[in-house]
Symmetry: C2
Subunit: 200 residues, 2 copies
């Protein structure tokens, strides 16, 4: 499986334009303190399981789970013409899936949750990162950090995309709430938009 | 190997007191933009390889590599009396190893790098996080986020430890520069100290 063992493609590391996705459940850490550990893990795994299926169905590469956060990229190890569009459709499908997740949570007496999703497009170094004892296909570059900063600004239920992602889209989407964010280590403000829906 | 396949221990998730370590190379993302991708990966993997060996030698559990950042915990899946002390000794060994890493970088015409290391102790939920298709032994809780925030305040060559870690130490260490940090989602300020050296 090329996604699992991309060594042949990426041994030394190379520069790739990718669309990066970062998502997390708003307030999950605080919420987790009100529940039994087994409930937290059950709720988290229900959410991550559903999101993983959706990301894989959209040919995204999951880089990490970090607690309730998911970091994924579209465009590495395999680049496709529609990487940014697939990332946007994936984000929409993830938000649409929250209703079922919350219905299942309700049935189990678990709280309702909302996720925020950030999308950003840029050039990153992709390669096998780590050591002989432990390595992973991973990514380095300011666009990764920028995505994390955009994610900090996402409200529950929102999809925020950077201008760099918006410019890559072939599909027609409606956006609103143009905002400029300051990001540490980046001189220019990062312009983001809130995704409304796909135009029919 | 219990560290690689801890399902038997942690299936449902449980609350653990752990000492969390987060480290990263100061300014690495900016530095990476001045180098060829293959050089970035070479430099990163030299660093991560050395750090992985040291963390494993101190019986730490590596949770993640995220670019140049390393997230590790001491105290899960197996809890030991000296988890906090081992984490501190590990951090000292990691800083001590930087001289050799930089000598090797110099020999290859690569830049000198400095790492910052944050340590924090607290109760987190540990368990197998993810889905049937992809899961990992991971951690959820405010102490994880707090560690990341402490790491943001580390200068190159520094080890910052929270008061909660300091209080767990059996060994005698010299600390300085007591600081109070405000952390999002945490009402109380987080008190941190800079580790100087082990008292002989």
């Amino acid at each position: 499986d090329i996604l699992e063992r991309p060594e042949g493609l990426e041994l030394g590391g190379d520069l790739r334009e990718v669309t990066i996705m970062m998502s997390d459940i708003r307030g999950f850490t605080t919420l987790s303190e009100t529940l039994a550990p087994a409930q937290v893990v059950k709720m988290l795994n229900r959410y991550l399981g559903a999101m993983t299926d959706i990301i894989m169905a959209h040919q995204g590469t999951i880089d990490e789970f970090l607690g309730d956060a998911i970091l994924a990229v579209f465009g590495a190890p395999l680049q496709r013409e529609d990487d940014a569009d697939r990332a946007v459709r994936c984000a929409l499908a993830m938000q649409a899936a929250m209703a079922d997740i919350n219905a299942a949570n309700l049935a189990d007496g678990l709280p309702q949750v909302e996720t925020g999703i950030a999308l950003n497009t840029g050039s990153v170094i992709a390669g096998n990162i780590g050591s002989e004892r432990r390595s992973k296909y991973g990514f380095v570059g300011h666009p990764m950090n920028v995505t994390s900063r955009i994610e900090d600004h996402c409200a529950g239920g929102e999809i925020l995309l950077s201008d760099s992602t918006l410019q890559k889209l072939d599909g027609r989407y409606r956006v609103a709430d143009r905002r400029s964010l300051q990001v540490k280590g980046i001189n220019q403000a990062v312009v983001v938009h809130r995704l409304l829906e796909v135009e029919s």
